[in-house]
Amino acid sequence: MSEQSNKQPNRILVIGGGFSGLTTAVDAAETGAEVIVIEKNPYLGGRVAQLNKYFPKLCPPICGLELNFKRLKNSPLISVYTMAEVENVSGGPGDYTVAVKLAPRFVNDNCVACNACSEACPAERPNEYNLGMDTTKAAYLPFNQAFPQKYVIDSAHCKADCGKACQNACKYEAIDLNMKQESVTFKVSSIVVATGWNPYDAKKIDTLSYGSVKNVITNMMMERLASPSGPTGGKIVRPSDGKPVENIVFVQCAGSRDENHLPFCSYICCLASLKQTTYIREQNPESKAHIFYIDIRTPGRYEKFYWKVKDDPNVSFTKGKVAKIVQAEGSDDVIVEAEDMQTGKKVKVRADMVVLATGMQPAGAAQKINGVNYTEEGFALSNQGVIAAGCGRNPMDVARSGQDATSAVLKAIKTGLGR
């Protein structure tokens, strides 16, 4: 910042190391502020790190993450804490005290990501990065291009001699089984809340039979299924029997725009489903995709992406919300039911697999940070020194999250200037 106003270094604490938090950190540091990033996962990148491709360019999200990681590594002003959670925020604009709890990783900075611990590790754990569709060893790297490139030991799944086995395999003395949970406090001038979102729990939508009918998956699971780092190496096959998916149905507004679930629109799901039709169409030229929707929401220039998908004769659209999903008799196929409003008839479509376009629930719905204000639905609210950014304050796509984060940086920096 300009010299006349720069009395003390501006210190910003960023809660969340997903796309918004990362952008906040990099943009703030590149403007001269000191930044502390608090991320609850063992890696940065958040939901974006789980995406296969971005709409509308169909480019890999890891590309932009990689660049941000590079900037982060090149900046001496940023400190990153993974496996960390904010417990309390106190103080006021210009002078906040933030209490942070650090969970043990059991792996120190000696780790070279050689995979020896994982090979030796006798225990497995469900892989939440792949939404539980496969498992990893209890000593694991969250995903190929994870940052930091350091293994983690999941102590909940690494009991008895498991830890020792991992430790013995490590040639670099990188495994420290005596690590304990720690508490640290930070003094900062402002806080950016970029806690992001969680996929809405599809089990709560009883009409859509997620969990009870086979081969009904969520859109985030579809991202992992299509991803080269996913459980199938990117081959889109259905979970029940591994059959390549030829016929797929997308159910829009699975939970979103619904007072019984999420009353708001999740912004991304229409575009995500349009994008996911291209995954399946690319893998199999004979495949067919069908989208049931209330309104197709492709605002701004995204409209052209909608047109592109609509031009594909194997992708069809029906205005009408799916409200019933059943298993086809004697088969793993799925039957969805909706009203085709244009013809005014109830229609039933049979598919190999059904993707529920589940929406985003702000992280604040499940977990609120002491000292931060929220709306009834759990969206974080901003005030002078605590600035909410990204999907934790309003559903938005990656592009807007980045832009929103950049905007939050200026507000955060301005708070620090007043000191």
């Binding site: 009409t207 725009r257 679930h261 009408g320 919300k321 009203e339 409003m341 008839k345």
Partner: protein, 391 residues
């Protein structure tokens, strides 16, 4: 055919006033039609009805059989993502349909709490006009039966007071129904012609009527309700209780006029004495059994409604008035009998009086109250079958 749309704001406001205040929240997703188990698959309801209602398209609604094929299971209301409560909106439209086709001003009054006192004042004054001149307000003046017990027929003679009053009321109701159904039928036919859907009236009317009767007797459609599963049982109880009471009433008329007045011995087969008939009289048994069934049925209806209020909506004044009237009728009916047998005159006569007033309310205002649903819904069911809307 190109149709000109002229939205009718007044009609929209009327629906809102009639208990459909949530209708404007609908954003046309059609969850309602998909979760509805009683709609046909072709042109299903209630999504399209919600749109017509939002636009105030009166003709499309009051000449619409689907509005009555709806049994207000409230699956739609429970699953509606916007809280638009299609079940309640259709309920409001049904009320407006009844009012629309009723030829008298009573229709407006039946749905509006303001007029409640007026509606009750009519039978109250009527019955008072019988008893006041005789000085029966002093209960000791009321003659007793041969065994010294309370005999309601001596308080309010069956002929002419009761039978003429109720006979005329029934005739009035019947006439209103005939006119109403005729209008409704022709409105439905007009919509059918105007719909351009190619649907035509065909099939045999007798067949449609028979099928409808069977459906009503079995409540087959009603049983498809999901969220409010128990409602069909409760309704079935009420329905059969009314049927039982109807038989009892007919039976009593046959006793009275056939046997007592005209002395036709064929009617005296089970005749064990004069009114009040003894408790072992089969007619009395049927009557009492029906009354108890009705009590259980209407209690279940009430409990179900309260239980489902959160998901299905709390219901309108119109609905609750109807339920209350039935409740009071059955309660006062049973009480009258008990009080008579217990010989507590000071309570027995007033309770019986109230009983009569409510029965009058039920009968005379049937074409304007929710009671009319049995007629309009039956007509709609027949029409739907007859027009191949469904089979």
């Amino acid at each position: 055919m190109e149709q000109i749309i002229k939205p009718d704001l007044n009609f929209v406001n009327d629906i809102i006033a009639s208990g459909g205040e949530s209708l404007k929240k609908c954003y046309q997703c059609s969850t309602c039609t998909v979760v509805c188990n009683v709609t046909p698959d072709e042109k299903p309801f209630p999504r399209k009805e919600m749109l017509y209602a939002q636009w105030g398209m009166k003709d499309k609604l009051i000449g619409n059989p689907d509005v009555w094929l709806c049994h207000q299971c409230s699956d739609c209301t429970a699953y509606c993502p916007r809280g638009a409560k299609p079940g309640e909106v259709l309920g409001a439209i049904r009320k407006m349909t009844i009012s629309e086709y009723s030829p008298t001003p009573f229709a407006k009054m039946a749905g509006d709490p303001k007029y409640l006192l007026v509606l009750f004042a009519i039978p109250v004054l009527l019955f008072l006009s019988y008893i006041v001149p005789k000085g029966y307000l002093d209960f000791s003046q009321i003659p007793r039966g041969e065994d010294g017990g309370i005999v309601y027929a001596k308080f309010m003679p069956v002929f002419p007071q009761i039978d003429v009053t109720f006979g005329l009321a029934a005739l009035f109701a019947l006439a209103c129904f005939v006119v109403g159904i005729k209008k409704y039928w022709s409105a439905m036919s007009a919509q059918l012609d105007g719909s351009g859907a190619g649907a035509q009236l065909k099939g045999n009317l007798i067949g449609s009527v028979t099928a409808t009767i069977i459906e009503i007797l079995t409540h087959k459609r009603f049983q498809k309700c999901n969220v409010t599963k128990d409602r069909s049982t409760a309704h079935l109880l009420v329905f059969y209780a009314f049927a039982g009471l109807a038989i009892t009433t007919t039976w009593a008329i046959i006793y009275l006029y056939g046997n007592e007045f005209l002395g036709i011995t064929a009617f005296s087969l089970f005749h064990f004495g004069e009114s009040p008939y003894p408790l072992y009289d089969p007619m009395k048994i049927l009557g009492n059994a029906s009354a108890l069934t009705l009590l259980i049925g209407i209690t279940l209806v009430t409990l179900n409604r309260m239980k489902n209020a959160e998901k299905a909506g709390k219901g309108s004044y119109y609905d609750w008035l109807f339920i209350s009237v039935i409740f009071v009728i059955v309660a006062t009916g049973i009480l009258s009998e008990v009080l008579r047998l217990a010989d507590i005159a000071v309570l027995a006569y007033p309770v019986y009086f109230i009983h009569l007033v409510f029965i009058f309310f039920l009968f005379a205002y049937a074409p304007f109250s929710k009671m009319a649903h049995m007629v309009y819904r039956a007509a709609a069911m027949v029409f739907a079958r007859h027009s191949d809307r469904e089979v």
